[in-house]
Symmetry: C2
């Protein structure tokens, strides 16, 4: 058969997500998921949903969900955009805002989807290396660019930057759009949402997959000036009009409104993180100070790739990145106290094996 | 304030979806939604879903849903791709397959999202006009091209083409990818899925939004050769790894498996379509022969835009396209018999007003 039709196929190397397992018996602390279930109010919204209405398209702009997000963040509904997970939101934002002739800028160690979007969309980029303590040097971002994207806190380093950092970053970058990716911000980071009024070129993105325990429902959002949000909407409506389904809208609204449950689960995760960090340090590990729902840890005396594999063999899934600078570390999601006890026991068994 | 940052924003004219209304009292026959609720088995899957597990990401490749689709269509799981509605699937397919230096080809009157994707993605296109009976002239597609996309049945004309048409189309287009968009095929069209083995460059797309009554859950799919599906997967995983959420996967599987309910609702819609077509013709309307869940109708004696507005004022929402060649027609989705009786009464009232 003639194969000329293959010449126009896209040849691209995709993003590789964290390992999934069908085995429900494992300790799954490899994908930064929340160990606690979604808000009972979100679950109630699901149970009460009139399923006959699923025959209709959802509201294309998901206004009710935007309103709930706007209320929580004390912004206007016109400042909120929602999408099919924050990956969808970021992919649309790259298309909406990174159309200049200069490369966009982001750190060398960061969310590994950024270079994938750049390849897909033909966006040039430069990477500025984190310093030896895995901190971002804000002065690197003085250089003229076609846009900036920075996760705050950063992943997989778990380290957050404060208000002063963001103010400097924005002052240096008056002429391009700056995206602050706050996927992990609720676990102790400092949100830049209050800056959107001062900086019309600042877009802050967030997700329901981590702090709201709804990874299964695919809800992401962005907050920014009306100009940025309107541009995002136009690009989204040139791609797929109905990205957030009816049940995600219904559950998302209640998850955002249930501040009490949110605060309670966040506090538990932070308390567990503190305890696990201390215990690992007592075992001789170096653990970066985390403002996220995961920690980065290493140990001078042991090979972390071996520990990762040892734990995996014992049904404890953490994450190891086989890439320069961070290949001496492992990333551990904070689970329940019970899960973390199993993890700590696994680590001790590894050391004493 | 300095506005230089605005220079890199994308300036684009988006797709405009059918009108939505919050009023539950209307007869909503404007968006080709199904008048019957989703399969009771799909609803049961939702009710039985362990909501605690929504804290986990869904299975990125949604294999279980692909398996259900593969079983129904008698293909292999490796021949199936799923996405966030067929708009997501088509947008990814345009990126995956239309990368040549020649324009892609599609009819002048067709799904109005095609030119929007072309503008977004920078794809050149040519349109071949439908003939005076709104039929596609397959010989137009002999011309060398960078790809072809044709809805079968076509929308908003409601007219389907048969096996001979598709065979000719594929024989003419050995050197590019051909997409057959079968969003409406289940209502009486002829599916091209059996051709995917013979033609490795044929991609057939489908949706759960019409014949499966799940527009609210955003599920679309594509069926084609392993080469096409693998390319689609690579592009999708360069954009958003988790596009179909956990509840959509669970409901989609059961909706696909419940062949009995599917056949029953399809038969009812076809019977109602036959009756409404006949009644409109008795009133002097010209109605195109539909193989979809909607009809295109016009009347020599009346202005269809006026009828559209009259019905809207009376809480009956149909669709009018203010564009060349079809601006003398209205598009009417087939609802329940009760809804269509209200519609027919509204039409009579309009005529006798």
């Amino acid at each position: 058969m003639n194969d000329l039709w293959k010449k126009n196929l896209r040849d691209i190397e995709p993003y590789v997500p964290g390992e999934q397992s069908k085995d429900r018996d494992i300790v799954k602390i490899n994908a930064n998921e929340n160990p606690y279930p979604p808000s009972p109010k979100a679950v109630e919204a699901l149970k009460n949903f009139d399923t006959d209405r699923l025959r209709f398209y959802p509201q294309a702009n998901a206004t009710a969900l935007k309103q709930a997000i706007a209320e929580y963040y004390k912004v206007k509904t016109e400042n909120v955009f929602v999408g099919n997970g924050s990956d969808d939101v970021l992919a649309l934002a790259f298309q909406a805002f990174f159309n200049g002739d200069k490369p966009i800028a982001y750190p060398d160690i960061t969310y590994s989807f950024y270079p994938v979007w750049c390849r897909l969309l033909g966006i040039e980029y430069v990477n500025y290396p984190l310093d030896e303590n895995f901190r971002i040097n804000v002065d690197d971002y003085k250089e003229e660019n076609g846009g900036v994207v920075i996760p705050n806190p950063n992943a997989p380093t778990s380290i957050g930057e404060g208000r002063e950092f963001v103010e400097k970053l924005m002052e240096y970058n008056r002429d391009s759009v700056v995206i602050i990716d706050e996927a992990y911000c609720d676990f102790g980071g400092v949100s830049s949402v209050p800056f959107i009024e001062k900086y019309e070129n600042l877009l802050v993105t967030g997700t329901f997959s981590k702090s709201r325990s709804l990874a299964g429902m695919r809800i992401g959002f962005a907050i920014g000036s009306k100009t940025l949000i309107d541009t995002l909407e136009a690009v989204k409506n040139s791609y797929n009009s109905y990205t957030v389904d009816a049940l995600s809208i219904a559950m998302g609204i209640e998850a955002m409104k249930d501040v009490e449950y949110f605060n309670k689960t966040i506090s538990k995760i932070i308390a567990t993180r503190t305890r696990v960090t201390e215990e690992l340090r007592l075992l001789g590990f170096e653990v970066l100070d985390s403002q996220t729902n995961f920690i980065m840890a290493t140990h001078e005396g042991y090979n972390m790739k071996e520990m990762f594999e040892y734990l995996k063999d014992n049904k404890i899934f953490i994450r190891y990145f086989n890439q320069p600078r961070i290949n001496k570390y492992v990333r551990i999601t904070i689970g329940t106290d019970e899960e973390m006890d199993k993890f700590l026991q696994g680590v001790k068994d590894f050391i004493n094996r």
